[in-house]
Amino acid sequence: MKILTLITTPLAILAMAGCASAPYNPANNTAGRATVYEDVRSSGRVQGIGIESQDIASMTDKMMRDMLANPILAGRSPSPRIIVDSEYFRNESSSRINKNLITDRLRIDLNRAANGRMVFVGRHFSDMVAKERDLKRSGMVDGGTIRSTAAQAGGDFRLGGRIASLDALDPNSGTQSRWQQITFEMVDLELGTIVWSGIYEMKKSAQNDIIYR
């Protein structure tokens, strides 16, 4: 009897132990495998005070959603023709940047989401279109299968905008900061009025080691 009690008691304690324990996390809550890829929508391991991938992803997404919620741009029938390129998108800031990174992403995001609510004119491809039209009209190639038009599409609205920055620096602490303001404006190409505006801003600062100041 005593032996039996000696065996069963620890077993019973063991069996009960699970019921009395504190809350636990059954997930395998460990870091993932190390990789060289980084999420373009988050700050990377190498950071500066200029415009970075997450800023471009974030600003173009914000502008795209805002434009699609605007009835002047996205609620017209027939759908308006829109030109989004970097021709009138100015960089006046102290950050070197390829502006096409912003305007291309904006146009493509808009075009994918608009689903026909807006029609995009590829003005940056107008040379390509003109050459093909010339070939068709000269009889070198046939007329294609879609249709023929008197001219290439004219735009109803076009994107304009500006990247501007204000730099500040504390030579004693070596802290450098940059405030950047990126404005987006959609202009009526007949009347010249601005039918939609968006703004995105950010301020970043960083400090160098004393040895590099």
């Binding site: 988050s42 700050s43 974030s58 914000k62 959603r65 699609l68 608009a114």
Partner: protein
């Protein structure tokens, strides 16, 4: 003594059961869906604002409070989502929020959107407002984390 024998045998069989049938590890594992009454947050709830960062909120304490959240329809038919977040601390906080949209069948149609940064002053509120790009959305799911 004899009277306790069945109980002892029963306990022994429970204890040794695991040793007899060793599972064979082979093949891909099916994805799991956690359905456990003890873990109510282990599943995704539509039209919610969730804090995914344990630095911001644990079961016991939280730096943020989601005061209001909801959605409405834009004139173009897209969905507008908002969340008002209150900083419960006496320190300024930077957080990031993003959204995912689902249609009426809870099929994902958009997102996740890029993270948008929200600056919260001490004890102050901040808003996350965004819109869907498409008109055929019915549900949203907003995630919040500490800014990095």
């Amino acid at each position: 003594m004899i009277r306790q024998l069945p109980l002892t045998l029963c306990l022994c069989s429970i204890v040794t059961a695991g040793c007899v049938q060793t599972p064979i590890i082979e093949g891909a594992l099916p994805g799991q869906r956690i359905s456990d009454a003890r873990a109510p947050n282990a599943t995704m709830h539509m039209n919610r604002v969730v804090i995914i960062d344990r630095n911001l909120q644990t079961e016991q304490s939280s730096k943020l409070a989601v005061e209001r959240a909801g959605s409405s329809s834009n004139p173009t038919g897209t969905m507008k989502v908002f969340a008002t977040i209150r900083n419960r601390t006496t320190f300024p906080q930077q957080i990031e929020a993003r959204v995912q949209f689902f249609d009426s069948g809870q099929i994902p149609v958009e997102g996740p959107s890029p993270w948008q940064r929200i600056y919260l002053d001490a004890q102050s509120i901040g808003n996350y407002v965004t819109s869907s790009a498409r008109a055929d959305v019915a549900h949203y799911y907003v995630e919040i984390r500490e800014a990095r």
